[in-house]
Point group: C2
Amino acid sequence: MKNRLKVLRAENDMTQAQLADETGVSRQTINAIEKGKFDPSLPLAFRFSKLFNLKIEEIFEDEN
Amino acid sequence: MKNRLKVLRAENDMTQAQLADETGVSRQTINAIEKGKFDPSLPLAFRFSKLFNLKIEEIFEDEN
DNA sequence: ACTTTTTGTAAATAAAACTTTACATATTGA
DNA sequence: TCAATATGTAAAGTTTTATTTACAAAAAGT
């Protein structure tokens, strides 16, 4: 599962720590997701979605 | 997190076992998600989405 | 009424998501 | 160049998602 979090952060001038803070997870979790170590839970995906005003499908791409 | 899986199954005339089969999880997992015991992972949410040709947001509703 | 199919549920286990602490490296900026 | 901020990563632990086996109850079909 690919994601555009790094770009979205850049566009919104946010650090990993800020994004973590706004979505209620740890900075390491954001880093791990950006680095593709694991996928976020569905609830967390919804929080990204609301924060960036984008559909989940516009943030995450299910490869395969 | 609410979901419309039960209704979508009904509309598509599927049993929990069939949905489980088509999305690659166990029947108990489908039952638990329908009953609200837990939320699906993001990858599983994408599989429901593709199967029913609906956006994740049209299947799952993030209450709160 | 009886049988088959479907749904609900439970317990034990496994796997994935996420936390905390901690430290190392990279980037920015004074 | 030095200090501060941001990012990458690792290990150990907790929580959440999912599996397997198994059985009971409800619904549907004959």
